[in-house]
Symmetry: C2
C-alpha cells in the first residue's frame, strides 16, 4: 500500500501535453526550467510518499473527529501539514508579490497529484486554498491582498469555500445566508452553510472562510449574491463568531472534515466584502473553476494509486496455470489475459484522465499569459476534466477492487478505501450532471461556438486512428445538434455527449503521446507502456464512447414519455 | 428508506419472461397456479418489507460480531429469521418428499429478490442453503437425504459452501483441506477455509457445512476433490470440532459474517462423504451454479432498492427551475432531464437484469422438467446472469448515490450502503472474469456450439429494433470468432463479449416485454413505465454494448505487448 510517485509519466505529460517549455519561455514562468521541474517532481513525490501516504489508513479508520465545535485530525496530520508549509509546497503557483514562486499551475498540479494519490482525504486541505487565492487576486483590494494573501500563499492559513446551504445545493442562487452593515461600517454575517470541506481543523492557526451571502434588498437568485471573507480568528487573535456545529459521517475521505458551519450565532460574525456587492457569483466561478480542475485531478490521483496497488497485487498473487499454456504451474495473476486487460485499462484510463486534466491546466497557464484562445479552451475543457476525470477515477478504483478478488472487499487491503474515497468526486464542486449542463449550455455557446469548432479542428488535424477520427467527427455532429436543440433535448443528451467529447480529447492526447513515445528516448519500460496504454485507449475506450452517440442524439421525448409518478410503479 | 415490493413487475416477468403458466401446466409444478403466485408475491413482499427491511441499517452499522468463536447478529435478526422459517418462505422450491412445496425456482427467486432488496447482507443466510439442498438431492444417499434434507428445506438449519482457502481462490483445485478415514470408518476433516458466508451465526440451531477436501492419495487438482458434509452439531447434539476463528472487516454486507473456518483443530471433526470420492467438483458445480444465479439476482435486488430510494428522493427534493421552462419556480429534481435520465437508466438496467436472471431461472425450472434444450440454455446464460447482473447492480447503486447529490455520500442516507453492499457481487461465487472465461470456454463449446446458435436464432427471430438486431448479429460473429480463437485471444475478448451477449439477451426480453405491455391490461403507470424502460434499454444501452465489439475482437496481442514489469513504470 505504498505510493510511488509516477515521476517519468508526470515529466512526459508536462513536456508533451502541457508544453512546459513553451510556458518557461515566457518571463512570467521562466522559473519553470527543466532542472526546477525535475526538482519539484522528485521532491514533491518524495514528500507525499514519505509524509502523506503513511497517514492514509489512519485517516480512514480514525478520521477527523468533532468535539464541542473543534475538529481534530488524527496524530501526525498537523506535523505533516506543517512540513508541507515549511517545504513551500503550497506556494508554487502563488504570485511572487505575495511570497509565491510564480510557477505554472501545471507544476502545482503535479504536486497536488502526489498529495492526493498519497492521501486524498488529507489533501483536500491543500486543494481549496488556491481557489481562495485566485478569488482574492481577482477581486480583493490591495489592502485585502496585502493582509490575507501572504499567509494563504504560504499555507500557514487555509481557505474554505462556503456556497451550499440545505435548500441551496446545485441551485446556489437559493442561498439565504445574510450580510448586514454594522454601525462600525463593517459587515456581519449570519447563516448556516453545509458540506464545508475543512471548515474547521487543527492543522493551521487560522482559517479564512470565503462565504457567499445576500445583502439587504439584494436581487433574488445568483445576481444578488456577494462574497465575504470571514476569518476564524479576528485581527486581534480572538475568535470570530463562527462555529463548526457538526461534521458528516461519510462513505469516504474520512480525513477530510465535512462541516456544518454556523455564522453569527451571537450576531457578531465579522466579514469583509470581497469585490463588488452583488458580484459574488463571478468570484464564486473563479474559485469554482479552479476547484473543478482540481477535482478532475482527483480522478487521476486515485486512478494512479489504485492502479499501483492492483499491479503490485497482481504481480504477487499466484493462482492457476495460464490457460492454453504448456506449463501447468500456477502463475502470477497478471499473466492471465482478463486480469491483464483490467490492469491495462486502469493504466489507459489513468493516463487518459491525466492527459485531459493536465492539458486543460496547461491551457489555464497559457490563459494567464494573455492567450485568449487558451482561456476559451480551458473554459470549454473544465467540465470535461471534472466530470470524465472523476468518472474515470471511480471506474479505475472499482477495477482495482476487482483485481484483488475477495481481498478487494476486505477493508484492510486498502483497495476498498480508494473506491469509497473517490465516489465523492463526481458529486462535489458541481455534480457531473451540472458539468454536462454547463458544457451543452454555456460552453458550446461560448464565442458563438468558435472555441468548440477550434478544438474539433485541432483534434481532426492530428488524429490518425480511424475510430478516433470518427469519434471526433461524431462529437462535431452531436455538438452542433445539441447547440441548436431546445433545452430539454440538449440536457437529455448532455452527459453522453460530455463522455464522448472527453474521451475524444483524452484519446487525441493519448494518441499523440503514443506517437512521441515511439521515437522518444528514455526508460524503455515506461515508453513501451505509454505506447500500449495509448493503443488500448484508442482501440478500446474510443469505440466504447462512440456507442453513446444514439443516446446523445435521442432527445428528451423518451424521458418524459411517462409521468414522474410512474417511476414509483 | 422503506422497501416496496415490486409486485406488478414480478408478476409481469413471471408471466411473460418465465412463462410460469407453462410450468404450472406440468404436474410437478401444478401448485404454481395464478392465485398461489399472487399469494406468494404479496406475502413474501410484505414479509421482507416488514421483517427484513427494518433491520437493514442496524445490520450495516452494528453488523455481525465475533466473540470467542461465536458470531452474533444484531438484535432482531434471530426473530426475523425464525419468522422466515415459520412462514415457510425457505421451502418453496424444496422437494415435497422432504417437506418442500415443490414450486418452481422462479417463484423462490421472487422471494429471494424481496429478501435481498430488503436486506442484502441478512439475506445471504437464505441464499446458500438451496445450493446445499441441490447438492444433497443430486449426490446424497437416501439415508443422507432423509437425515439432512427436512431441516435444510424448512430452514431450521442452514447450509454453507466451503471452497476457498488462502492459496485456493479462483483455482479451487489448489485446495489442501484433508479428509481421512478414522478407525470407526467415518471421515475426519482437517483444514482452514476462508470467505465462508454465514459459516457461524446465532440464527438457527445447526449449520451444515458442505466442505471440499482431498482424501489421501487423491489426484492433484480438481479431479482429486471430494465433498463432505460437516455438521456444526453432531447427531447427539454435541459440538463438532469446527470453529469460526475470525470474521472479516468488509466494505459492505456487514450483516453477513464472512468467516474463517477451522476444521479439526483437535483432529476430531466428523464429516460425511457426499457422492463419490473424487466426485466433489461436480457436486461443487451444482451448488455453485445455483449460487451464481442467486448472485446475479443480487444485482436486481440492489438495483430495485437503490432505484426506489433515488426515485423517492428525486420526487421530494426541490432544486432549481426547469431549464427552458416558462416558470422560474424550483421543481422536484426528477423534472430535470439529466436526473430523469439517470432514473430511467436505473429502471431500465434493473428491469433488464431482472429479465435476464428470471429468464435463466425459468429455463432451470424447465430443465427440471426434463427439457434438455432448457438445460443447455441455463448453462449458457448462468455466467451472463451472474456477471452482467452484478455489474448492472453496481452501476445502478452508483447512479443512486449520484441522484442524491451530496446526501448520497452521507452514510445516514442509505444510498451509500447499497453502493458498498453490492460491490461484493462481481467478486464472489466466481469473479466476473471467471464467468467470462466460463462463457468463452465451456459454454460456447457446449454441444458443439448448438445452444449458442439456438439462442442467437431465437433472439434474431424476435428482434425488431435495428440496433438490437445488429447487436445480436455482432454477438454471433464475435462468438464464432472467439470459439475458434486461441486461449489468449479468447480470454482477452471474453469480458467485452459477455457484456455484449448479456445486453443482447436482456434487450431481447425487454423489447418483448415492451411489445406485450403495449397491449396488455393492467396498471397504466406500470405498463407505460415498462414501455419506457424497454425503449431506453433498446435505444441507449444496446448501442453502448455494440461499442464493445472492437475490444472483443482485438485479441491478446496488445495485452502482452509489454512485459508485466512495465506495468510498474
Amino acid at each position: 500500500m505504498t505510493y510511488t510517485p509516477p515521476v517519468a509519466e508526470q515529466r512526459f505529460v508536462l513536456e508533451h501535453v502541457v508544453g512546459i517549455a513553451d510556458l518557461a519561455a515566457d518571463a512570467r514562468y521562466e522559473a519553470a526550467a527543466p532542472d526546477m521541474v525535475e526538482a519539484i517532481l522528485d521532491g514533491a513525490g518524495a514528500f507525499a510518499a514519505g509524509e502523506y501516504a503513511p497517514l492514509n489508513r489512519i485517516g480512514d479508520t480514525v478520521g477527523a473527529r468533532w468535539e464541542d465545535g473543534r475538529v481534530m485530525l488524527p496524530p501526525g496530520f498537523r506535523e505533516a501539514y506543517q512540513a508541507f508549509v515549511a517545504g513551500g509546497w503550497g506556494s508554487l503557483a502563488g504570485p511572487t508579490a505575495f511570497g509565491g514562486q510564480g510557477l505554472p499551475y501545471a507544476l502545482a498540479a503535479a504536486v497536488m497529484e502526489d498529495l492526493g494519490s498519497a492521501n486524498m482525504g488529507f489533501s483536500l486541505v491543500n486543494m481549496l486554498t488556491p481557489g481562495a487565492i485566485e478569488a482574492l487576486i481577482a477581486y480583493g483590494t490591495d489592502d485585502q491582498k496585502a493582509k490575507w494573501l501572504p499567509k494563504l500563499v504560504s499555507g500557514e492559513w487555509t481557505g474554505t469555500m462556503n456556497l451550499t446551504e440545505p435548500q441551496a445545493g446545485s441551485d446556489v442562487g437559493a442561498l439565504r445566508t445574510g450580510a448586514t452593515r454594522a454601525a462600525d461600517g463593517g459587515w456581519r454575517i449570519k447563516g448556516t452553510k453545509i458540506y464545508i470541506t475543512f471548515g474547521e481543523h487543527d492543522l493551521a492557526d487560522n482559517i479564512l472562510h470565503l462565504v457567499l451571502a445576500r445583502t439587504p434588498g439584494a436581487p433574488a437568485g445568483t445576481r444578488g449574491i456577494s462574497l465575504f471573507l470571514v476569518p476564524r480568528l479576528r485581527d486581534d487573535g480572538t475568535a470570530n463568531d463562527v462555529r463548526c456545529v457538526s461534521i458528516e459521517h461519510k462513505l469516504g475521505i474520512h480525513a477530510s472534515p465535512t462541516c456544518v458551519m454556523s455564522y453569527g450565532d451571537h450576531d457578531d460574525c465579522h466579514g469583509e466584502l470581497i469585490g463588488a456587492e452583488h458580484g459574488g457569483i463571478a468570484a464564486m466561478f473563479v474559485m469554482m473553476n479552479n476547484a473543478r480542475l482540481n477535482v478532475g485531478l482527483q480522478g487521476v490521483q486515485i486512478g494512479e494509486r489504485a492502479t499501483q496497488q492492483a499491479v503490485a497485487y497482481a504481480m504477487d498473487r499466484v493462482q492457476s496455470a495460464r490457460a492454453g499454456g504448456a506449463s501447468r504451474d500456477p502463475v502470477a495473476i497478471i499473466e492471465h489475459p482478463d486480469v491483464r486487460r483490467m490492469l491495462l485499462r486502469m493504466k489507459a484510463l489513468t493516463q487518459g484522465a491525466r492527459a485531459l486534466v493536465y492539458y486543460a491546466i496547461g491551457q489555464l497557464d497559457r490563459a494567464h499569459l494573455g492567450d485568449a484562445a487558451a482561456r476559451d479552451r480551458v473554459d470549454l475543457l473544465t467540465p470535461l476534466a471534472k466530470s470524465w476525470g472523476t468518472d474515470a477515477g471511480c471506474e479505475i478504483a472499482s477495477l482495482g477492487v476487482q483485481v484483488h478478488g475477495g481481498m478487494g472487499f476486505i477493508e484492510e487491503t486498502g483497495a476498498a478505501q480508494h473506491y469509497r474515497d473517490i465516489r465523492i468526486a463526481p458529486i462535489y464542486e458541481g455534480t457531473n450532471g451540472i458539468q454536462a449542463a454547463d458544457l451543452v449550455g454555456r460552453k458550446l455557446a461560448l464565442g458563438g461556438g468558435a472555441p468548440f469548432d477550434a478544438l474539433i479542428a485541432d483534434m481532426q488535424r492530428d488524429a490518425e486512428n480511424e475510430s478516433l477520427s470518427r469519434l471526433i467527427g461524431d462529437c462535431a455532429e452531436v455538438g452542433r445538434h445539441l447547440a441548436a436543440a431546445g433545452a430539454d433535448d440538449r440536457l437529455a443528451g448532455s452527459m453522453p455527449f460530455l463522455t464522448m467529447l472527453a474521451v475524444a480529447v483524452a484519446g487525441w492526447q493519448m494518441e499523440r503521446q503514443g506517437r512521441i513515445a515511439a521515437t522518444a528516448e528514455g526508460d524503455p519500460a515506461f515508453l513501451s507502456m505509454k505506447r500500449a496504454a495509448a493503443d488500448y485507449f484508442v482501440r478500446h475506450i474510443v469505440p466504447e464512447a462512440a456507442g453513446l452517440k444514439s443516446a446523445a442524439l435521442d432527445g428528451a421525448g423518451l424521458l418524459y414519455a411517462v409521468e414522474a409518478g410512474a417511476f414509483l410503479a
